[in-house]
């Protein structure tokens, strides 16, 4: 922490304001003990909390008064109507309702009844948008990740020695990354019209920003020996990178791509809120109609999709490393 420049030690501002305590030891030496910075940091945090409460109108009594509303909604979400088996369904498949118990899962007719319920209830409307969400995130992630690789190479300081282009590229990438996905989606929905194409485009842009950042950081840590050897043979930068450095970064790159796909499935599920296709539209509609059981169904299916994509990607990433 101490900054030493040419033998002179610059005392930090804090220690000049709050002078260090001088302690006399038993052998007569004196040592300087700097004052603790904790009180100052604590005061700063308390001040910020107070300001934040002023700015946000924080009021816990609202929760105390109306909190039960939340539990009502939550309990409805956790009883999705996918499990609301209508009266008469079991009889339709030759099952007596009073005999249905846990053991019925070994009975083919029980599964028929469940399938019937799923395909005839609200859940059947969820599949279309659910696949749309997956399509948007797969396509957007793939194109975004493919475009990200050359840009990341151009934005890493050890391959591209031109300082100005690196700085400009990184600045642009930073801007792309700071824009919230929903804002990008809204703009694309206005440009390309409502639907999955706008969603794909915004996933693409979002993926591009994230993967470029992670990739140029890891490209900068690679071993440059092989690349320099290739350059000394007279290989161009592209040839050198392709044959010497590609092998080194490929596993990292692929695992970042899978990670981005995971994030994108979650992100894509809300894009529909601004009209960019997918589950978001359905989520918005269900909440608008206060159909929280339906919302539960949508969320349950999203949950299953996210968990299966995540475990697949975790399995593949383990294979890669």
């Amino acid at each position: 922490m101490k900054k030493k420049t040419e033998g002179t030690y610059r005392v930090p501002l804090f220690d000049r304001v709050f002078r260090p305590q001088t302690v006399v030891l038993s052998n007569g030496h004196t040592v300087q003990r700097p004052r603790s910075r904790m009180p100052l940091i604590a005061a700063g945090i308390v001040l910020m909390i107070w300001l934040s409460i002023q700015l946000t109108g924080f009021d816990l009594s609202i929760i105390a008064r109306r909190g039960h509303q939340f539990t009502v909604i939550l309990s409805k979400i956790f009883s999705p109507d996918i499990f609301n088996i209508q009266a008469g369904t079991f009889e339709k498949f030759g099952l007596a309702p009073e005999n249905v118990n846990l053991l019925s899962v070994f009975d083919g007719r029980w599964w028929q009844a469940l399938w019937y319920t799923m395909t005839n209830s609200f859940a059947s409307n969820v599949f279309g948008p659910l696949w749309d969400t997956l399509r948007m995130s797969v396509l957007g992630s793939f194109i975004g990740a493919t475009l990200a690789l050359p840009i990341a190479v151009a934005a890493s300081t050890n391959i591209n020695r031109n300082r100005t282009t690196v700085l400009i590229l990184r600045f642009l990438l930073n801007i792309v990354r700071t824009l919230p996905t929903l804002v990008i989606a809204k703009i694309f929905a206005l440009i390309f019209g409502l639907g999955t194409f706008a969603g794909t485009m915004s996933i693409l842009v979002f993926t591009l920003g994230v993967i470029c950042k992670m990739m140029y950081e890891s490209i900068e840590t690679i071993d440059m020996g092989a690349f320099e050897a290739m350059e000394s043979f007279g290989a161009t930068k592209f040839q050198g990178f392709w044959s010497a450095s590609m092998k080194q970064i490929l596993p990292t790159y692929l695992s970042y791509c899978l990670y981005a796909l995971e994030m994108n499935v979650r992100a894509a599920s809300i894009l529909g809120y601004v009209g960019a296709g997918g589950l978001g539209l359905l989520i918005d509609e269900r909440i608008g109609w206060r159909d929280y059981n339906g919302l539960g169904t949508v969320l349950l299916m999203l949950f299953l999709l996210v968990v299966s994509i995540e475990s697949l990607s975790r399995f593949l990433r383990k294979k890669l490393s």
Binding site: M48, I49, L51, S52, I53, Q54, L55, T56, G57, F58, I62, I63, R66, G67, Q69, F70, I73, L74, I77, W131, D132, L134, R135, M136, V138, L139, F142, N174, I175, T178, L179, P180, T181, L182, V183, K186, I187, L190, I191, F192, G193, G195, T196, F197, T200, R266, S269, I270, Y273, V274, G280, I283, D284, I287, L295, L299, L302, F303, V306, V307
Partner: protein, 294 residues
């Protein structure tokens, strides 16, 4: 053509021979490429390009012009006669101005992260198998997974029914959403706890309180703070998104301006947002680097 040299040992392979005997797994590569192509074909089948909307080029041009000449009165939060004004900490500010909205966004993320960080402490201790019985740990880990999977937008839409559309809703939403990721990262810190230190403190006759003060806290606090700062970064981005559904902050006015094509206002909001995000990211990376270096 294996020639034996003088010592009778096989001649070491030349570079060319080594290169030719490299492992070839072309069938695996073909399979992967085929599967990826199949997946992409399926995905591309559902995403159709219907051309640029009639208003499309106008929107693109509008955003470009908005970014090049933003509404400076809005960006600097100047008070004019027709602006709505509120008083925060004794200062009169315009509620539509960029500074007020940005500070509100920061405030939402700050309070949400702090409350989330505090609420995550019991969650993470109750979810780690080192402290509680296995089945309790399992229940709490499932709970954390559920909190993480429900998108924050949905949390916000549910909380709006309780608090009404205001910044307080954003705070509550972020407090709940943050629990998921923060307690997951806390759990890793708790699992990495070095218990040998506790044993040596025991051996030197420390009380339970002293063991926690000198054995546990110094190990986990830097980790916890670093996690909370990282989450603050994420919450800042999220707070803008939550604003879009009406949970306070800069999101709602930004989307309204985009919808109603007021491009110079869009430019002002985007300018403020980008600047703030860059500053916050830079600061949080600096603080976290300092924490890890000690």
């Amino acid at each position: 053509m294996k020639e034996k040299n003088v010592s009778g040992m096989p001649r070491p392979l030349s570079i060319e021979e080594t290169y030719n005997s490299r492992p070839r797994r072309w069938w695996l590569y073909t399979l992967v490429v085929f599967l990826v192509a199949l997946l992409l074909a399926w995905a591309a089948g559902g995403v159709t390009f219907k051309g640029i909307a009639t208003k499309g080029s106008e929107v693109a041009r509008g955003i470009a012009s908005g970014l090049t000449n933003p509404d400076w009165d809005l960006l600097l939060g100047r008070i004019k006669e027709d602006t709505t004004v509120t008083t925060v900490a004794g200062i009169r500010v315009s509620t539509e101005g960029v500074p007020y909205l940005l500070f509100q966004t920061i405030a939402i993320a700050f309070l949400g992260t702090i409350i989330g960080g505090i609420l995550a402490i019991p969650f993470s201790f109750l979810a780690s198998d080192r402290i509680v019985p296995k089945w309790i740990g399992w229940i709490f880990r499932l709970l954390i997974l559920l909190i993480r999977t429900i998108p924050s937008l949905v949390w916000a839409l549910v909380w709006i029914r309780v608090t009404g559309p205001n910044a307080f809703c954003g705070v509550v939403t972020q407090s709940v959403c943050s629990i998921g990721m923060i307690s997951k990262m806390y759990m890793t810190a708790i699992e990495d706890l070095d218990v040998r230190i506790l044993e040596s403190l025991d051996a030197s006759g420390c009380s339970a309180f002293q063991k926690i003060r000198y054995g546990v806290l110094p190990q986990i606090i830097p980790n916890f703070i670093s996690t909370v700062i990282y989450r603050f970064d994420i919450n800042m981005k999220d707070a803008t998104t939550l604003g879009i559904v009406g949970a306070g902050g800069i999101g709602a006015p930004l989307i309204q301006c985009i919808t109603s094509s007021r491009w110079s206002m869009v430019g002002a909001y985007l300018f403020g947002l980008i600047l703030l995000m860059l500053v916050i990211e830079w600061l949080s990376t600096r603080i976290r680097n300092r924490l890890t270096r000690g």
